[in-house]
Every structure is written in C-alpha cells, then in structure tokens.
C-alpha cells in the first residue's frame, strides 16, 4: 500500500492551524497544559480547525495537533508519539485497539450515515423507475429553486427520499443506462450507465463503506466474514467502481463538484457534509439538491482510539462536553446518545435531513482486512 506514505505526508491543516493559534494565544495560558497529538480522518479536519473548537478545547486545557490520514491506512502508521487515532469507522478502530497499546476501549463521540446526493431530474427519474422513493407531502412547498425557506427549508419538489439498494444494485448488475429508464429522455444530462460516484475505496473511508453497504445488500443481508463472501460480491463491486473511471481520494471534492453542477448527478457523501452545507452554507449553494438515504447504508462511526491518558481524556471530553458536542453538530455530525442537539440544529432543514433515519437499515461493516481486500479487487 504505497498510499499509506502518501497520505501520511499530508500534514494536517488542523494541526497547523492549532499550532498557529497556540503560539498566537500563548500569553494567557493559565490552563493550557496538555498538548495532544492525533491522526484523524480528513472529514474531521474542518471540525478540529474551527477556531471555536480550538477555543473550546483550550478552555479545557487542550491543544490538539492533528494530521490527516485515510482511516483505513491508520493501522499501518507508526503511532508512537501520538495520543490518539480517530478514524471514520469502527473497523479500523477495532484493529488499532488490538494492535496498538491503548488506554481503555474506543470512544465514539459522533457518527454520520452515508447518503446519496442527487440532482432533481436524476432523483425523479430514479423514483419513476422504482430505484428510489421520494418523500412526498413533506413540509416542503414554497416558492421554488433558490427561494425562501419553507417550514423545513425545502422547495417545490421533493428534496428527500430513499434509495432502494436492491433495485439499484440489480440495475448496476445489468449495466442499466439512463436511456433505458423512462422519463430520462427529456434530460440530456441523463445518459450513459447509471452509477453513484464515490471516493476511491482503497484510500478513502466513504468509498470503502459504500462497498460495505453494497456487499451487505447484495449478499442477502449478510456481512462478509470470509474470503468466500468477498468472492461472491466481487464482480458486482468491481462494476460499481470501474464504471466511475477516475475517483477522488477525499469525500470533500466530489461533494463540491456536485454542488457546482459538475460531473455525475449521483454522488455518495456523508450526511454531515449535507447538514453542514445546509446549516452554514449560503442558500445559493444548495441548488436542486435531493438527499437520498439508502435503505441499507453504513454509518461512519467516528471512533477515537486512545493511545495515552491524555488521548482518553480528549475522547471523553468530545463525547460529553455540551459545547464540543454542539460544535460537532455545527459540522453536521450526529453526537452519540441523545439526539436532541442534532434535532434542534437541523430543525429548519427537515425537508433534506431525515432526523430519525426511519426505515434506514445500518449494515455492519466487515473487518478492515476483508474490506481492504474488497476494495483492492474492485479497484484493481
């Protein structure tokens, strides 16, 4: 895995920012005693870089320096000298817990399910052909694209729905094209094979979790536990990946392309990215976005593996401190336990966000080793 090194070379923004702030605010450090170093998945970089996060952590005496790495590459990193590792998934965290010397069990301060963002035309065609179900009668209905918010922040059309994984995977298996779907002919952009854009599963967490969800759904609701199971779904997973051509390595870039109207009309992202856009973005950036929750999905469990006592304290702080939980919500994450903070913060956006994840089945994730082998076979 040559990527491990490459990824490791990406010295974290967050780290640099934290450093900058630290030296800048060096004068008043009555409490600033603990400097902790950690390696994190890139999807949390913005959270740790947020000046308010830096401030909130400093109030508890923490200066956090982070470096980003692909979650699935962390177990290959030399972790000596780090206080914590914070992958975007439970499986690599479990693996780290086994291999590294840890201080207590892993902590899961927040999570975020994977969703598919679709442009309106694509979502409607998928729905018309039984590949998705759009939520109707929702609190949307106001004055159209880019207009003022309705009660749930929606538009004239349905802005939330369910991606039906069974029919979708069957279509993928058949190399179904948009041209073969009814209702697509009126939209010139809907042409070619129907596929969901994901990140590169070999290097990136969301791309790997896509394969976890797809293999679970395709194998009759069974999580892969051995090489045979990997074998069974390998041809389908290969299709899902090969059709995409060049893939990006961080979940940020395909989402930005999507909201820019560039590229494929179906993109796999974290719900946190959508929620963060809705809460902090300018209205104009939302466009004709529709959020499809796959009926079988995987949540990205942001799992902190403590490697030192300080690392453990940080994990506990992130899990319990109301201020930090609120900040995690600001970045679109769902804190573990009581959902009140997330529900309150997304109250204005229920046309897009399914707060209760009704009817969404959470697929278990295979071990890191199996998932890596799935990814390599799909990509290679």
């Amino acid at each position: 895995m040559g990527i491990v090194l490459a990824v490791f070379l990406i010295a974290g923004v967050a780290a640099a920012v934290a450093l900058g702030r630290d030296s800048g605010a060096g004068g008043d450090s009555g409490t600033a005693a603990k400097t902790v170093r950690g390696v994190i998945g890139s999807e949390k970089a913005e959270f740790f870089a947020d000046p308010d996060t830096v401030k909130a952590l400093a109030a508890h005496g923490f200066t956090v320096r982070t470096e980003t790495s692909g979650s699935w590459a962390m177990d290959r990193l030399p972790l000596k000298g780090y206080d914590f590792a914070f992958p975007g998934s439970k499986a690599p965290a479990d693996e780290l817990s086994r291999s590294a010397e840890t201080r207590g069990g892993p902590l899961r301060p927040f999570y975020s399910p994977l969703v598919v963002v679709a442009h309106r035309n694509a979502a409607e065609v998928l729905a018309a052909n039984g590949l998705a179900r759009l939520r109707t009668g929702a609190p949307e209905a106001t004055d159209g694209p880019g207009g003022a918010d309705g009660p749930g922040g929606g538009s004239k059309w349905a802005t939330q729905g369910t991606l039906l994984m069974g029919p979708y995977l069957a279509a993928a298996e058949d190399d179904r094209t948009w041209q073969q779907l009814k209702g697509a002919s009126g939209h010139a952009e809907l042409s070619g094979t129907v596929f969901i854009t994901s990140t590169d599963p070999v290097t990136s967490n969301s791309g790997a979790l896509y394969l976890a969800a797809a293999s679970y759904a395709a194998d009759g609701g069974r999580v892969a536990t051995d090489a045979k199971a990997v074998e069974r779904t390998a041809p389908l997973l290969r299709k899902l990946v090969q059709v995409q051509g060049a893939q990006q390595t961080s979940s940020d870039a395909p989402f930005r392309d999507f909201i820019s109207g560039v590229g494929n009309p179906l993109v796999l992202v974290y719900e946190s990215q959508v929620a963060s856009l809705l809460m902090n973005g300018q209205r104009q950036e939302v466009g004709d976005l529709v959020v499809l929750y796959p009926d079988t999905t995987v949540s990205s469990d942001h799992t902190l593996v403590p490697l030192t006592d300080h690392g453990r304290e940080l994990g506990e702080l992130l899990s319990t401190d109301p201020g930090l939980r609120k900040l995690a919500v600001r970045h679109g994450f769902r804190p573990q336990g009581a959902a009140a903070e997330f529900t309150a913060a997304t109250a204005g956006h229920t046309a897009y966000i399914d707060q209760r994840l009704t009817g969404v089945r959470q697929a278990p994730v295979p071990t890191a080793e199996l998932l890596r082998s799935m990814a390599r076979r799909a990509r290679g």
Binding site: V13, G192, G245, A246, S250, G261, Q284
Partner: protein, 544 residues
C-alpha cells in the same frame, strides 16, 4: 495557450530544462502589484520587491495559462478581499510534474488548473492537494460556420458525436483542433470524441478505444488544422474558409463570436462533454494563513455577484445555481463523460492519436547552412535536430532541405511503424553530415520546399519550418517569392511556414513570411530554454 502536455508525451530531457527559466521569470511578475493602493494593511504595498517568498496577504498560485483572462477579476478580488494573487502561468502537465516531483513544495500555496482530472491520475501530485473547489466551468464544444450548419441541416441542440462523425466520414465536415499532447482543450476533446464514438456508457477502457479505432481514424481524417495554442488555431481558422468547424472550449468559441464576429453555432454534443471546472486547490504544504486566503478567495469567487461577473466576462459557466449562465450559453444540461480511471487508458489514447489515428504530418525543414552558420551555430542546429528525432510520430514524413547559395540537397525519411527507429536514425545521420558554406538563398529554398510538398496537402498535415541566421543574399527576392506563393493553387497555399529567428536573421523579413503563408514566428535567439533553437523546434511540434 500551451496549457497541457500529458506526460506520456515522451518529452526529452531538454524540454524539461527549457521550461524552468520561463517559470522562474513568471514568478517575478506579481499581478496587480502596481495598482496596489498600499492601504489594505495586508503587507503587499507598492514598491516592495517581490522575491517569490511566502507573504501575508499574497497567495502564490501555479495557474493554467488560459486563466490569464481572469486578471481583471483577480484585481477586483484583491480590492474586495485584500488578497493578492501572484500567478505563475504554466501548462497543466508542467504543473502536475512540478507537484509530483516536489519542486512546487514551498514555492506555491495553491494550484489553479483548468481541470484536476489528469492530476488525479498521478498519486504523487494528487497527494499534495489538500482541498479543491471548482470556480467556473466550460465544456468542450464544436463551433460550426453558419453556411455549414445550413448545408448539413443540423439542429444545434440535438447533434451527437456520432452525427459529427458521419458528416466527417462523408466528407461534409472538416475542422481544426488543438494538439491533445500540448493543450488541455485538445486533450479533453480527444476524451469526449473517443467516449462518444466508442459508444462507451461508462469510463473509457482500453477495449473501448480499440473498438472505436476505425471510427476515430475516420473522424480525425477530417482534422484540417492542428495547433499548439488556441490563439493560432483561431487565426488559422479565420484564414481557411474551407475549414468548417473548430473544436475547443465553449467559452473560447463564444468569445470568438463576441470579439471577432466569427458567427459560429456552438454545439455541445448531446451524448456528453468533458468539462474544465477550474478548481482552486490549496496545497498540503500551505500555511494556515495561506489556506485561509484560499478559502476567502474561493468564497469571493463563488458569491452570486462574482459568478455573474465571471460568466458575463469570460463566457464560462457559473458553478452556483443562483447565478444564471451569460446570455449566449444554452441552459440545457449535458452529461459529463467520466474521465478514464487509469493513466494507462489516458496515455494509451494519446499515443493512439499520435501514432495511428490522426493524419500524419509531412514537414520540410528548410535549414540555413550558409557560411555564417559555421562553428557554434551549426553545432546548435545539429543538436536541436537531434533532440527532435526523439519524438517524431509514426508515419511522419520528414524532409531536410539544407541550403546555402542554393538548395544543397533534399533528403526525405518516413517513420515506418514497422521499424520506427530507422527513420530518426537516418535523420540524425543526415543532420550530422551538414556543413556550413555559401550564401543565403532563403526565398528560392522556400519555393523549392513548396515544390517538394507538391499538390497533395490533404492526406497529411503539411508544414515548412524555416531556420536561418541571416538575411537573404542569393536567389529569389521577397517580392518574387510572394508572387510565386500567390500564384500557387489554393490547395498548395494551405501549407504554413514557421520561421525561427536565429543568429542575425531579420525578424521583420521572417514575420512577413509567416504572415504571408499563415504561419507563426518562433524565437530561437536565446542560448537555452524557451526561445532557444531547441525550444523553438520543440514548440513547433504542436503545429505539425
């Protein structure tokens, strides 16, 4: 606009060398520094010498050369945000190479290319991108003359690549396109066309490319103009009324309509496009301040008001829904064709284009070997010719026509696909045997080159390269040559002369030859790097 040279293009080491001084020079030209009012408090006031180092309020950006049309908007961004962008213009591939090799580390805070598609196929380069956000978009399109549209009876909104192919194969449509090995627009066009004609419903594979081979060959048989830059392509097109269409970015074609009254009907083929999306990309090595600056600039450029400015001025498409595309931009959406997933497919396609699909080239090198070339100059010429032989294309016909008081000899070699090393070896041997002697019969020798090429200018891209180190002292006069050229049948006049200024040659004399024949002047007066004889010969490859 030499914006892209994908790496498979077996660039000889010297080509890499020639690039550096250019980039270094560009580094020292801060944009908008002279217009600063110095009152923005961000430390980039006037009168400060610019050493290319990191500085608060200044963002060092490695940018695609075609983005130079954003200068006014960058200046407005400086006024609005206090951030001065110091661009270093480069080709996309050059930028990717610099990133991958680490040479950009510490020298730049961000890159801004027409597209990161190619960059992503290089793990070393891709690993240095921390974040990227598209700022505007322009798809590859086909611009067709009004008369041709009427003749073909096309409905612009429904034309597909397959339909374009049929028209070309039937001999009803000819076009010009930039060289995919040197220009991002040409490269994107090649991907679009191969996807369209292979019927590939997903990302292109080697099989798709192979299957589409016959159709692609027919398609590229209709290519009448090739160019290393969009600018020269447009002027060559304006000159050649027999060329029906141009393939380039939609924004370039619409700008020709706006600025030059080209009257083109701009078609985005219905089966899909490849779009340049100009992502402003922060580098992993940038300081927190620089990354904040990238974020601030990104927000500025993505605001609705600035998006409206961008689309109005550049005729590229806005990337936020609230800003509507400028007037001439058709609102209907197009499918984005997936970019090949591996370097091998992308490079394989380029190599097929070079060696098998495109029309071959026939080039006559009219080389001054008069007495004044003796010594160092002749050595330079031989070395430049040697450098060239490293990357002649298969099927290419190369003629060396050295002259002094008259043409000394005419030696032609073809690069045979069955034995691609023999031709270049023979050319090297001929080059080694050149000797300097006699007067300088420029015009007689040029006329001989036209005679050598003969009446067939259809089956290959024909061109003449003229290298001379002095003024015309023997044979025909300039006026006699002009009369000769004007008396040629139209088919023979399409061959352009690309003169290279070298030694003591008379620039205005050479400029007149380029203007008369529809060529372009290249500078070979420098010792090395761009503007040297090596560099000029290398750059002319994009036009052959």
């Amino acid at each position: 606009m030499r914006d892209r040279r994908p790496p498979h293009a077996r660039r000889p080491p010297y080509a890499r060398r020639v690039l550096l001084p250019l980039l270094a020079a560009a580094l020292l030209l801060p944009l908008a520094a002279c217009t600063s009012d110095g009152g923005d408090g961000r430390g980039s006031g006037p009168g400060r010498s610019d050493d290319g180092r990191a500085r608060t309020g200044t963002l060092r950006v490695l940018a695609s050369s075609e983005l130079s049309d954003m200068k006014a908007l960058l200046e407005e961004a400086r006024k609005a945000t206090g951030i001065t962008v110091r661009p270093t213009w480069a080709g996309t591939l050059d930028a990717v190479e610099r990133l991958a090799s680490g040479r950009a580390d510490g020298a730049f805070d961000a890159v801004w290319l027409s597209s990161n598609d190619y960059l992503r196929l290089d793990p070393e380069a891709a690993g240095r991108i921390a974040s990227e956000t598209p700022l505007m978009a322009s798809p590859v399109a086909l611009g067709v003359r009004p008369a041709t549209m009427r003749r073909l009876g096309w409905d612009a909104a429904s034309v597909s690549w397959a339909q374009v192919h049929r028209a070309v194969a039937a001999g009803d449509l000819t076009y010009g396109m930039t060289d995919p090995n040197r220009s991002n627009s040409g490269f994107s066009a090649l991907i679009s066309i191969a996807s369209g004609l292979s019927g590939a419903q997903a990302a292109l594979t080697d099989d798709d490319v192979r299957r589409a081979g016959p159709k692609l060959r027919e398609f590229f048989a209709g290519q009448r103009l090739t160019s290393g830059s969009s600018g020269w392509l447009a002027s060559a097109y304006a000159r050649r009324s027999t060329v029906d269409a141009l393939i380039n970015y939609e924004s370039v074609l619409l700008s020709l309509n706006r600025d030059d009254d080209a009257g083109l009907t701009v078609i985005r083929p219905r089966d899909g496009v490849v779009t340049a999306d100009y992502p402003l990309s922060a580098l992993t090595g940038a300081t927190p301040e620089a990354r904040d600056a990238v974020r601030t600039l990104t927000e500025h450029f993505r605001s609705t008001a600035v998006q409206r400015e961008i689309t109005a001025r550049t005729l590229r498409r806005p990337v936020v829904a609230a800003a509507r595309p400028a007037d001439p931009l058709a609102p209907e959406q197009r499918r984005e064709l997936p970019f090949p997933g591996s370097r091998s497919v992308a490079d394989g396609l380029l190599s097929s284009y070079e060696h098998r699909l495109r029309r071959p080239s026939r080039t006559v090198y009219v080389l001054d070997t008069s007495g004044s070339m003796k010594g160092r100059r002749l050595a330079q010429l031989k070395s430049a010719l040697n450098g060239l032989t490293g990357h002649f294309r298969e099927r290419e016909q190369v003629t060396l026509l050295p002259f002094g008081s008259a043409v000394k000899q005419v030696r032609t070699h073809t690069v045979d696909p069955a034995d691609p090393k023999a031709g270049p070896a023979a050319i090297r041997a001929d080059a080694a045997a050149l000797s300097a002697e006699g007067d300088t019969a420029i015009y007689s020798s040029l006329a001989a080159a036209y005679d050598h090429l003969g009446p067939d200018t259809e089956s290959a891209f024909t061109s003449i390269v003229l290298m001379t180190d002095g003024e015309n002292t023997a044979g025909r006069s300039a006026a006699e040559f002009e009369a000769f050229y004007r008396a040629l049948p139209e088919a023979r006049r399409v061959t352009p002369v690309f003169p290279v200024v070298f030694g003591d040659s008379d620039r205005s004399e050479l400029e007149a030859i380029a203007a008369l024949t529809g060529g372009r002047l290249f500078d070979g007066t420098k010792e090395e790097g761009p503007g040297s004889l090596d560099g000029a010969f290398e750059e002319i490859r994009g036009y052959q």
